[in-house]
């Protein structure tokens, strides 16, 4: 027979009452909307989707980290990835996801500098600080680091359809380019095929 110490039982009760990090938050709403697993495989249709985005970002970031090519650059940025498909793919989401994975890795020593797409907000803030009399410690202009290397790439697709099926082949190409020399330090590609049978 198992004997339960009173103190342990009380502690367990308190933990249960207070939740102890297992709080069941009250749900507001009809219950028809729910949260899903962000890593779940999405195959709603043949369009470029969240699973493809995760696959591409993971493949590119992992390979870039593994080769160590990025550490040959003190600083790097990402250029706008060209979308050569006929689908509305926001490639900035892909490049920012790759960048985030690179920055989270302890193996990457290269520093990320803001991309062209992010620069407008940065210059706006610098101007705001320097054009205002409110700040005595306004950040100085002309101190920003330039990118020694840049990540560039494109995504393209080939789509074929007949009465029975639709087949879409995606290819995502990426390369690391040394800005001053224009030399390519690393390149990789990720291919994805999605088929829908009617």
């Amino acid at each position: 027979m198992i004997k339960i110490n009173k103190g342990i039982a009380m502690l367990a009760s308190l933990m249960w009452l207070n939740g102890c990090g297992m709080t069941n938050a009250p749900v507001v709403g009809s219950g028809k909307v729910s949260y899903g697993d962000t890593n779940a495989v999405e195959t709603v249709n043949t369009d470029f989707g969240s699973t493809d985005l995760n696959m591409v970002a993971q493949t590119m970031a992992d390979d870039l980290i593994k080769t160590g090519a990025l550490n040959g650059c003190k600083t790097y940025t990402v250029s706008a990835v060209r979308n050569k498909t006929d689908q509305y793919i926001d490639t900035e989401t892909i490049t920012q996801s790759i960048k985030t994975r690179l920055m989270k890795s302890n193996l990457v020593t290269s520093k990320y500098v803001l991309s062209q797409a992010q620069m407008q907000n940065q210059t706006d803030e610098l101007s705001r600080q320097n054009n205002s009399v409110l700040y005595k410690d306004a950040t100085k202009m002309g101190q920003m680091k330039s990118a020694q290397c840049r990540l560039d790439g494109f995504v393209s697709s080939i789509s074929k359809t007949n009465a029975d099926m639709k087949d879409v082949f995606y290819q995502f190409n990426m390369s690391l380019i040394q800005v001053d020399e224009g030399t390519e330090l690393w390149a990789n590609e990720k291919q994805i095929r999605k088929t829908k049978v009617n």
Binding site: N45, A80, V81, N83, K84, D86, Y88, I89, E92
Partner: protein, 456 residues
């Protein structure tokens, strides 16, 4: 199986006539809208608005939202279109939960006609709601909200495509054969070529359209808005899709080339998009086919009639081919991007087989009624049923009337600063001045009758 006695049927008719349904099955929408359009053509926006019957209906919001847009009252226009969007969202929900309209609606429609149902926007009309909202937000200098709406546009297209795919799959499974004694759709079509303009909905131009909901203008606009925001990875597919829908359009291929070669407006120039909306959408007119025949029940012989009604397109007779556009005194030529006359024809082309089947069900109902009244006591009852069938069996004539018949576009790279835009139609010249300050700008104008309504 549906069984209605003559008394119940007549009671239903009286109920509809006296109290009215939410949507009166006897009313003609196109007739109601004629005075609104006439006032618009005469340049009287406020009187045109007064002619609209205010209601909490999708069509009211669509028509009023368009009028408010022409009145340069973009906030109110967006409120109307947001209300209209609510109806589309409900339609999307009904598609997702598999109901697609309530059972009572379906029952009413199969017994009387489609007009008793709440209006469901045609596919191309659905897509134009977020497109117009996007244009409105551009006029309000709110490009972020404009971007939200244009994304909503192509997401909505995907939903419509899924809906159409599922309908196609379902119809492949369904028994499409007509009830015994009724002709097939193909047979009916070939037998009635002289009564209905089937050629207008089967023309090569109509069949060349990919479908009835994707239009080149909305995607080109998406490309332009994304380009204006510097989001080239989204701008390019916008132009590419526009090109797929409107092949051989040089303006579209130039926009793609500009992105690929980074030929974008510099700090001294503006890419101005001139959006020319002309005329109004085609009206729908109900065309009826009443086929009398005799049935015998025992010793009694009765005259019966099958009433079939189809909506037919009535294109505006106004000529908008000689509109003259000039920018700073130089004549410019616009390019046709979207032809709503063709899209409406394509919609009918795709939907007439379904409308035909619904009519057959009604016809079967008519026969049941007439046979019932025949056995009940003779030819007077039969005649009433025949008349009832003819009166109530008219096709749904509702449509978003104030949509234009076509959208033409001109894109120009101009120096920043003041410019004069002139539009001449039917000998009347209309002028507006724009002061270009950013790298991208849109100016819309609506040509209707001899009037021109600028968006600034």
């Amino acid at each position: 199986m549906l069984k209605f006695t003559t008394k119940k049927y007549l009671a239903l008719v009286i109920c509809l006539l006296v109290f009215g349904c939410a949507n009166n099955p006897l009313s003609s929408y196109s007739s109601n809208m004629t005075s609104t359009i006439t006032k618009l053509q005469q340049g009287n926006l406020s009187q045109s608005e007064a002619k609209l019957t205010k209601s909490n209906s999708l069509l009211y919001y669509l028509e009023h939202g368009t009028l408010m847009r022409m009145s340069v009252n973009y906030s109110q226009s967006n409120k109307d279109f947001t209300n209209a969007q609510g109806f589309i969202d409900a339609w999307i929900d009904s598609f997702h939960n598999g109901t697609l309209g309530s059972a009572s609606d379906t029952m009413e429609a199969s017994l009387i006609n489609d007009k008793v149902l709440d209006y469901v926007a045609k596919d191309y009309e659905k897509v134009m709601i977020p497109t117009y909202k996007s244009l409105n937000f551009m006029s309000l200098n709110d490009i972020d909200s404009s971007r939200v709406e244009i994304m909503r546009m192509y997401n909505l297209e995907d939903i419509i495509q899924n809906y159409r795919d599922s309908q196609y799959a379902k119809s492949a499974e369904d028994d499409k054969s007509t009830p015994k004694g009724f002709p097939s759709y193909d047979k009916f079509q070939s037998d009635n070529q002289n009564k209905y303009d089937f050629d207008a909905i089967n023309s090569p131009e109509v069949l060349a359209l990919k479908n009835s909901y994707q239009n080149a203008f909305s995607h080109y606009l998406a490309g332009f808005i994304f380009e204006a925001r510097g989001e080239m990875s989204l701008a390019r597919p916008g132009y590419v899709r526009a090109g797929q829908l409107n092949p051989n359009n040089k303006m579209i291929s130039q926009a793609i080339a500009n992105i690929d070669t980074k030929n974008l407006p510099d700090k001294n120039s503006t890419d101005l998009l001139l959006v020319e909306e002309v005329g109004h959408a085609p009206e729908l007119k109900s065309v009826q086919f009443s086929i009398p025949f005799t049935t015998n029940r025992g010793q009694t012989s009765c005259i019966n009639a099958v009433t079939i009604s189809f909506p037919e397109l009535v294109l505006s007779k106004e000529n908008y081919k000689n509109i003259n556009l000039s920018v700073d005194g130089v004549i410019e030529q616009t390019t046709l991007f979207t032809d709503f006359n063709l899209m409406a024809a394509r919609y009918l082309h795709d939907n007439l087989p379904n409308i035909f089947l619904r009519n057959i069900i009604r016809a079967a109902k008519d026969i049941t009624l007439q046979q019932t009244s025949c056995s009940a006591g003779g030819s007077i009852g039969s005649l009433l049923a025949v008349v009832g069938g003819i009166v109530l069996g008219s096709a749904d004539e509702r449509t978003w009337s104030l949509l234009p018949s076509a959208i033409n576009v001109k894109r120009m790279r101009l120096k920043k600063g003041p410019h004069v835009i002139r539009v001449t139609n039917n000998g009347r010249m209309h002028e507006t001045k724009v002061n270009l300050t950013g790298n991208y700008a849109i100016l819309s104008y609506r040509v209707i009758g001899s009037e021109v309504y600028f968006s600034n």
